[in-house]
């Protein structure tokens, strides 16, 4: 008599499912989860780079050292400056472009397609492109302003500590605005037209219709875009690395770049690990605050 399997059909399916999923799970655990856990453990050690270096357990030593370090707080301030201005710019531009596309002007389908181009460009390429645009001797920005007669000499834009950050923000906003625009445009397209028409009948003008009706209904979509973009902007690295490398005079040194400097050029991996988790604490807090302030579950119905 053939031995009956002791598992039910359902359990057998589950077993097959587990086997099928295992390769992907192994990769995810290996590539993503393990480094996170290891970095967390590392953050409690004094861990200089090197093959034969002794790692001493210092509990919260790295965290305390960073919190006491004025350079850390300066960097956080700079990063917040970058995040706030960049996100506000992206949201405003994104909303404007979304509204524009939604009003279906002539060629709106092409506009929606063309919008993907800045976003599709890899961040490194975007950074290299903007570095050339801002170039003191050969840049397109200088060329353009010169043509319009707005400047008499080429200006070395990236050498001014006060200007470098706004310029990096502009490069980042140009690159990421399409993400916001597309999310908001999809949300706008899903809004019922009757509300708008009813409001128009009641005498509301275009701005009132936008502010009091469309904007509140967009809240869930705005929340999604806001959280995604804020977390990304706070962790900005590539564009700073390529355009200014944190200069001039550290004016574009953001927290992730500071983490990179500690971990690799300066060989302080314990500090770098602690900084990574401090960044995570900041971004999670920001996300939670946004959800607290903006999320109204009843509005999605």
């Amino acid at each position: 008599m053939p031995r009956r399997s002791s598992l039910s059909l359902r359990q057998q399916d589950a077993r097959t499912a587990w086997l099928l999923v295992t390769p992907a799970l192994v990769i995810i655990l290996g590539v993503m989860l393990w480094p996170i856990v290891y970095t967390f453990i590392l953050s409690f050690f004094n861990a200089p780079t090197g093959l034969n270096q002794v790692r001493t357990f210092i509990w919260l030593g790295n965290y305390i050292a960073m919190i006491k370090d004025p350079e850390f707080w300066d960097t956080i301030k700079r990063t917040l400056y970058f995040t706030i201005v960049s996100v506000v710019l992206e949201m405003a531009m994104g909303l404007g472009v979304a509204q524009l596309i939604n009003s279906h002007p002539w060629g709106w389908k092409f506009l929606r397609f063309a919008l993907i181009v800045p976003w599709a460009v890899p961040t490194i390429v975007n950074g290299a492109m903007w570095r050339w645009i801002y170039s003191a001797d050969f840049g397109a920005l200088n060329g353009l302003l010169m043509q319009f007669g707005l400047i008499k000499h080429y200006v070395p834009w990236l050498t001014f500590p006060n200007l470098a950050m706004p310029l990096v923000i502009l490069a980042d906003a140009w690159h990421t605005m399409p993400f916001v625009a597309l999310i908001l445009q999809a949300a706008l397209a899903a809004l019922p037209e009757e509300l708008d028409e009813a409001a128009a009948v009641d005498g509301a003008n275009a701005f009132q219709r936008f502010w009091s009706i469309r904007l509140p209904l967009l809240r869930p979509a705005i929340l999604v875009a806001l959280i995604a973009r804020t977390v990304e902007a706070f962790r900005v690295f590539d564009i700073v690395y390529i355009i200014t490398s944190g200069g001039p005079a550290n004016s574009t040194l953001t927290i992730t770049f500071f983490t990179y400097l500690n971990s690799f050029p300066w060989g302080k991996q314990g500090v770098g690990a602690a900084l990574s988790f401090l960044i995570s604490i900041f971004t999670i807090s920001m996300a939670l605050i946004f959800i607290r302030v903006l999320y109204r579950p009843e509005e999605t119905q």
Binding site: L19, G50, L51, Q53, D137, A249, L261, P265, W266
Partner: protein, 432 residues
């Protein structure tokens, strides 16, 4: 259905097992060694590739995989490469400022026993400085480079200046004339961006003023009045419009681009700038560039300093954990051999001092059209190459100094305050 499931599971398990096992399987056949180097200064990637191909032809059991990145990225790639087992690179280019850090980290293989007497006596003693610590040798010399002072002959002629400046004060005077005559809007271009390049320029200027980085006890002295003077001088040349304001965001490639476009009359840079200036596909000033000894400050000249520049040599080191030390050393020996180096001497002068004496010198000078100019320039300038501090914390210390210089140049801090802050940071680093 159950049979199908069992079969499927059996098949999947087999595939899984094989793929995991297959990942670790060792390949038989030629050994491949991975070498990391920079794609600027020294030989061009195409030339090094050719050397690798020639080596492979002579050594069929070794394959050489060269990787080229910009100088600023090499250090970090070495660090991350060494985190793997086996390491991502079997050998890498080591800048003259890294051995102390890398030896402390255990990255470099001790090759003292592999270096032959021929190599030791044949190559310039100075070339071994970059890889020797405590009597042990950790690499093979490769590129002996120093920053040169280059000027545009035609521009000076147009300005009525008969000879290049001997002091930095003379340079300011000459640059003022050139600017006033409208020959160049910003006559001088530097690599003062917030990277190692600015410290290189600072080194040349500091030693040219009789200054130094550290005193005998290892304490920082670059913030004494000699250091403050040169930083103030740097800022003054920017304010006077003599140094190009874009210097503050320029690296050595940007300096070359500016000089080769004929926009500046004076540019301090590594040797590659001269060879590129003679290349019509890159340069608009073919035949106009010339070398002069790196100037010093009047105070330095009074103290007997003839010239002062900065050593930017690099070598190749074998990574300590490589499984292919023998093959890698074989390739490095070939790379540094006299025959190979003389063949490519237009881009990079050989490290063999025998090439610079007697009939060999004549051969070297005749090897390429630009060697008659570059070889004497090298022999004249390299003896005055100064070292940056050989301390293990140099990378982080340099970052503090780069910040201080940038803060002074952009007016965020006064030169004295900026340098004092950097010196305090160095003291803290040394104490760790």
């Amino acid at each position: 259905m159950r049979t199908m499931n069992k079969f499927l599971m059996g098949l999947l398990t087999t595939i899984l097992v094989f793929s995991v096992v297959g990942c670790g399987a060792k390949k038989t056949g030629p050994v491949t060694i991975h070498i990391l180097t920079m794609d600027q200064a020294g030989l061009k990637p195409a030339e090094i590739d050719q050397i690798a191909r020639d080596f492979e032809a002579a050594n069929p059991d070794i394959k050489v995989n060269m990787e080229y990145v910009g100088y600023d990225y090499v250090h970090d790639k070495i660090v991350t490469g060494m985190a793997a087992t086996p390491p991502a690179y079997d050998a890498a280019m080591i800048d003259v400022i890294w051995p102390d850090e890398f030896i402390k980290n255990g990255y470099l293989l001790d090759v003292t026993s592999r270096v032959t007497a021929d190599m030791k006596s044949g190559m310039f003693p100075a070339s071994w400085n970059g890889v020797t610590r405590n009597g042990k040798i950790y690499g093979m010399p490769w590129l002996m480079d120093v920053k040169y002072f280059m000027y545009n002959k035609d521009m000076l002629q147009k300005a009525g200046i008969s000879a290049p400046p001997k002091t930095w004060e003379d340079l300011v005077a000459d640059a003022t004339i050139i600017k006033q005559k409208g020959i160049a809007e910003f006559p001088i271009i530097w690599s003062w961006n917030q990277k190692e390049g600015v410290v290189c320029d600072f080194t040349a200027l500091l030693f040219g003023n009789g200054g130094a980085f550290l005193d005998a006890s290892g304490a920082p002295v670059f913030n004494n009045d000699k250091g403050v003077q040169i930083l103030t001088w740097m800022k003054q040349t920017l304010d006077a419009g003599l140094s190009n304001p874009s210097s503050v965001s320029s690296d050595e490639n940007a300096v070359e681009a500016d000089f080769l476009a004929g926009k500046s009359a004076f540019a301090v840079n590594w040797l590659f700038q001269y060879s590129d200036s003679q290349d019509a596909s890159k340069s608009q000033i073919v035949g106009q560039a010339a070398f002069a000894p790196m100037p010093v400050f009047a105070a330095g000249a009074a103290a007997g300093i003839v010239s002062a520049s900065v050593d930017g040599s690099s070598s190749f080191a074998i990574m300590a954990t490589t499984p292919y030390a023998d093959q890698t050393w074989k390739f490095l020996t070939y790379l540094a051999s006299n025959a190979v180096q003389t063949k490519y001497s237009a881009e990079m002068l050989p490290v063999w001092q025998s090439d610079f004496t007697g009939s060999a010198l004549a051969t070297l000078e005749a090897a390429t059209p630009i060697n008659p100019v570059t070889v004497p320039a090298f022999l004249a300038q390299f003896p005055y190459a100064n070292e940056r501090p050989t301390v293990p914390y140099y990378n982080e210390g340099s970052a503090d100094l780069q910040l201080a210089i940038q803060q002074a140049l952009t007016g965020v801090k006064s030169p004295k305050d900026a340098l004092d802050a950097a010196a305090a940071a160095w003291v803290a680093l040394a104490a760790k």
